[in-house]
Amino acid sequence: MSIAARSAYGLSRHARPVAIGVAVCAAAAAIAGAVALTRGEARGQTTVLAVTTIVAGCTFVAGGIVAWLRRPANLTGPLMMVAGFLLFGTSMAQAQQSLPFTVGLVIGAVPAAVVAQLVLAFPDGRLHSRWERLVVGAAYVDVVVLQVAMLMFMGFEHINGCPCPDNLLLIRDDARIHSALMGSQRVLTVVVTAALAVLLARRWRAASAPLRRAIAPVLWTTAVTIVLLVAAELTTDAVSRGLAAASRIALATVPIAYLLGLFTARIARVSVSDLVVELGRLPGPGQLRIALARALRDPSLELAYWIPDLETYVGLDGQPVDVGAAPGRAVTVVEHGGRRVAALIHDPALGENPELLGAVGSAAGLALENERLQAELRAQLEELRDSRARIVEAGDIARRRLERNLHDGAQQRLVALSVALGLAERKLTTDAQQAAAMLQAARGELTVALEELREIARGLHPAILSRGLAVALEGVAERSPVPVQLHVDGGARPPPSVEAAAYYVVSEALTNVARYAHASAATVRVARDAGRLRVEVSDDGLGGATITKGSGLQGLRDRVEAIGGHLEVQSQHGRGTRVIAVLPLQHRETTAETELGDANRD
């Protein structure tokens, strides 16, 4: 069993050393930050806030590393690591040198924007709508552009806790511009926070049950963090500092919430073991879907079974199923013993949990294969019923056409002939010369009628087949308006039904070549190959032929499949057409066939 769609285990061999490197750097940064913070208590910082910031940084880096190792393709892990390092970096604002001090001031608010991006991009690491990109963009403008602009007009001489190192960005210390910029930063922060809340609320309302389960922990921890941050902004002094510290603690739980989402995959293994037990006593068809839906916790789960012969997916009822990704649905292909068995059509949120999908697919592989066989049988029965109906219908149509051709052709000519002969009979005594002319015309008419009757008789059954397939096909090639190269292998004669099928394949294919292909030449090859007769008709024409309902090719396929053979049409636009029929030579003959066959060979 394997899951073809994607695998979480596609890590490069560099992943582990990189992760260890990141962890070491983070530890160093955390220690440096902690030292800097304890030294900078005077600048409005508290030890509590310092420690909680470092703790939040640690959980973000650690969570980021785990997330990245588990989902290398997902941007969430790297983003979490970035947020963690930025949190460490905020402690640089406590430094005694100008450069780290300035850098610390610039990045002070950036973690908030990264967290906004993280929560909106959860769980797949991508932003999904223009609104989401707009809100995240505005958040970065808020914490980077406006922050830098504000710092350009902000001196630190009069700030509590200073003297401070130089602000390297300072152009002019101007309290008016500085407070105007700070005011606009506040407004934008409120707008972005409100927009974020709306987007998250909308996402929650639209989310399916499995998706809600996945996003709930992240959503709630982020919401608590935001509420605490906003509260800290609205209050002052000790209360504000306490709320700020509390918001850091809440922030520290966001990565844990994400990891919790990951661990539900582990917890789900329990449901897989339940599934294995349940599969052992499935009562009947349809129950497998219910069992899998329960194990995956996705009630909308649908199953489609792969039918290799028809190259299509079908439902349990044998009817074709379109597994092309419908909006809001995802498809995972399940293989068993190296062969494609089925497709799970499920909620896209499950795609974030490939381990669970893999485990469930693996556990259910055999059961799915069993149901696939049932579905295949139904599909084949369905196809058989259809083809039988088509064969009967094709017979009716052929007889109707035959009656029409007889009536309009030979019958009309014979009628005219009868009248002409009657007339000539009476003229014989009065006008012998005119009678002779009439008889001559009548003979011409009779010749044409005979030719028409021959044509119809050949359409009924090619009597020439009694002389062998090669001779019969020579006749077909001879009558084709497009030049035909004919290669027919000798050997013992195939059963009559096989000869007839081969004859009709060549005859119909060459008729199509003459009618539609605009070909300059065609080739017919009939060869024996491992107990089968392979009939191939190819041309150098336009191509683009398909086996459509009610077409001559469909009729041919029915005829070929009725004797256990297989018909294929290869016809790309501009590349000519190739009709290939493979017919089994060991076809069991009916009594009627044998009798007729013997009669034909007289």
Binding site: H407, V415, A416, A420, R426
Partner: protein, 115 residues
């Protein structure tokens, strides 16, 4: 001589019928389908209309029924290359004067039917 309109969708039959009937009738026109047959009969006012049963669109029985509604209607004779027994119920219900098998058509046969 009585005048005849020949109605058949097969040109070969119209030609041979024209030759066969010429002995005792004047062929005043031909028509290739039912609708044209009614139009030409109304216009030419022939004494006899020889009409094939199996016409495209309005068939021979339809033509016979339509012509029967004219003032001073022509005498309609049905003809066909099909087996008369298959058509018997339809012929019986038709206002047409009678039926002559196509292969037996001659001036004499038509004349006997009209007599």
């Amino acid at each position: 001589m009585r005048t005849v309109l020949i109605v058949d969708d097969h040109a070969s039959f119209r030609a041979i019928a024209r030759a066969a009937l010429a002995e005792r009738f004047t062929v005043v026109g031909e028509a290739v389908d039912g609708v044209e047959a009614v139009a030409r009969a109304t216009e030419l006012r022939p004494d006899v209309v020889l009409v094939d049963v199996g016409l495209p669109g309005l068939d021979g029985f339809g033509v016979a029924a339509a012509l029967a509604t004219l003032d001073d209607p022509p005498q309609v004779v049905l003809t066909s290359s099909r087996d008369r027994r298959d058509l018997e119920p339809l012929i019986r219900d038709s206002p047409a004067l009678g039926f002559v098998a196509k292969e037996r058509l001659s001036a004499t046969a038509l004349g006997e039917l009209l007599a």
